[in-house]
Symmetry: C2
Subunit: 395 residues, 2 copies
């Protein structure tokens, strides 16, 4: 009984903190998500301590709720994205995805080597600079009702490509670190698998849904289209982890498939309460992971500042270059939208720490850098989107 | 990453199993909840083993999701129940609650003593026969759209009173078992606290909401009434555990308070997707807790049959007697509605096992009895409600 009381208290505290944070942020004309992340930082181990570090490691109830929250968020984003519209921006998305991986990887490796790491370690550090986390940007785009903009589609398409490349890169640096040669055939197989997964699910899934969408009407359950697409969402989120991709990629694909059904608008409507309850857990837990105490020394602070600068500049340049065909303003929006690293950088840093490649300090720097990019992006992106004319994607 | 994959797979499996179970049950003209519980039994440790016993103990992610599910369910039920309507059935609810505790306690103690337990142990066993779990009945009533019926209101009111009395009784038998005398002053204090909590929250809460409901419009968040009442729901669920009551009692009170706001219908609508996603976890986890292997021996099976019979008959008699002013048919519906014991009996059995009062066998019997009452009730209740004229409660 006492355990139930503790967890209910934590859920209550997190939910209320998120609401207060989002409300304050929005009154300051900032995206609500910034307030939720800062609220997480405030109730986390660094400040109020309502959430403990042990309470948010992988596999805890809060971690699982956060995961469900971000999976549902990307599902809802997918629901507002149709495959046909995504295909129109395919070339731009591919360029943004590829350049947005290469530039951060090269600049990250140079910075790490310049900071005194040997080359193989530097490549591992650089890998943590690569992967964009679509969650933060998706939430900002959604809050501003900007998901139908051309730039939004390029960002979402690029995020899928980005995730595939980041996974490959992680495979490369892990085998380099292990002293093995790079197994090109093995990596090619992984690449083909991942691309195959995305293409088959995206292409076949949408086609099946268009042709057989009326099957969703068959069950007795009055909430049937919703329950079936939620099952597809959970299933594809799980499947995509089996192909080495992030769960949110599968959830996004599931949403895109579900956007083909006639009940699409009803589904979008029904997703709102689910997002309202569950996404705050993702953003608060993200904020709670920031450990401010590591940065008591000036040396660590400088290192963090440098890493964050390299992370932001490299992704901005890569994304901007890739998106230049959209015009300068559009390219800037895409570049900024690709900046957040979120949990993927954190995962790579944890692997590095576990493998003994990273020191505690560089680990803390990478984690804080990943989260800082997530805090810095929303206000800038929000400002850019409000100020630039809403160029709608061609329908 | 692998942990995330495992939990996503489990969530997917549970959700799909629940949908299939509910669909089959409804096609067989049974309430969907029966299908969800049976699905849990099927994917649980006794059969397919997709859910392990360690995966559903208190504090695991699945347990927390199940708890959130049943808390939201009782909140939604509260949303369809107004204090004024509940007050009209106050006398009947009180009678049903009190007799529905006394009869099972007395018959349970007699049965346990007759089965060879000494008196103090028999009283502990009897305590596990007492507490009605409102979740199952509430779900059946909601599925059939019967929450506005007179009998439904009596059942819900009685469930609150029942929970207060069960908590007191547990205090009494625990101190008897510990060899201490019963501390009457202490118990009276506990009783006053619990009643005070329910009355203050119910009475003051509804009054504040009626007078100040327009405050819910103030936040910028477009989903604001929903997010605020969800926060109240989590807060009261947690608070009620602090007063020794079940979390679902607080959630029910929160829903009743929220039913006073002008946006009540919109809130009911918005709760549907939340219930669709989260309540299946409660019912599947309930089913997964049934360990069929304990009942391989004829002796254990007989004991279970006897315990279940005593549990059903005693609650039926108590509830029926209390509800006789509603007429015979109404009294029968109320009696049947009070039968499910659900997780409260399981909690008491766990306490008994931990304190060394219960053997493994009587523990397994009590757990299985609690769950059997939950499986048996929905079809009977559903049949009774469909066959008897829908006597609406006076408005």
């Amino acid at each position: 009984m006492h355990h139930a009381a503790d967890i209910l208290y934590t859920l209550f505290a997190i939910f209320v903190a998120a609401q207060i944070g989002a409300e304050i942020a929005q009154r300051l004309k900032l995206p609500g998500v910034v307030g939720e992340i800062v609220a997480g930082c405030a109730i986390g181990p660094s400040a109020l301590g309502l959430v403990t570090p042990e309470g948010i490691v992988a596999g805890t109830p809060l971690d699982v709720l956060a995961e469900i929250g971000v999976v549902l968020l990307l599902f809802a984003v997918g629901l507002e994205t149709r495959l046909d519209e995504l295909k129109k921006v395919g070339r731009s998305a591919l360029l943004v995805g590829v350049l947005g991986v290469i530039v951060p990887f090269v600049l990250g490796a140079l910075w790490a080597h310049g900071s005194g790491f040997e080359w193989t370690r530097s490549l591992f550090v650089a890998a943590a600079f690569v992967a964009t986390s679509a969650g933060i940007t998706a939430r900002v785009l959604q809050e501003l009702g900007a998901l139908s903009r051309l730039e939004a589609r390029v960002i979402l398409g690029a995020a899928v490509i980005d995730d595939i490349l980041a996974m490959l890169l992680l495979g490369v640096v892990t085998s380099l670190q292990g002293g093995e040669g790079v197994n090109v055939a093995g990596l090619a197989f992984v690449l083909v698998q991942a691309i195959g997964f995305v293409v088959v699910i995206g292409w076949v899934g949408t086609r099946v849904m268009r042709a057989r969408g009326h099957w969703l009407e068959h069950p007795i359950n009055p909430l049937s289209p919703l329950t079936i697409v939620l099952a597809i969402c959970l299933g594809l989120a799980w499947l995509s982890t089996g192909f080495g991709l992030a769960a949110i990629i599968g959830a996004f694909l599931a949403g895109m498939i579900a956007s083909e059904v006639p009940q699409r608008e009803e589904l979008e409507h029904q997703m709102q309460p689910l997002l309202a309850l569950l996404t705050p857990f993702f953003f608060v837990v993200t904020g709670a992971k920031i450990d401010l105490s590591v940065f008591a020394s000036a040396g660590a602070l400088w290192m963090l500042a440098a890493a964050t600068l390299v992370a932001i500049a490299s992704k901005l340049i890569g994304g901007w270059l890739g998106a230049l065909p959209l015009g300068r303003r559009g390219a800037l929006i895409v570049g900024v939208g690709m900046v957040p690293r979120g949990e993927v950088g954190v995962v790579i840093a944890s692997l590095g720490l576990a493998a003994g490649v990273f020191t505690q300090q560089i680990y803390a720097v990478i984690v804080a850098m990943s989260l800082l990019t997530s805090i810095v992006t929303p206000p800038v992106l929000s400002l850019l989107l409000r100020r630039s004319p809403p160029v709608q994607a061609p329908d």
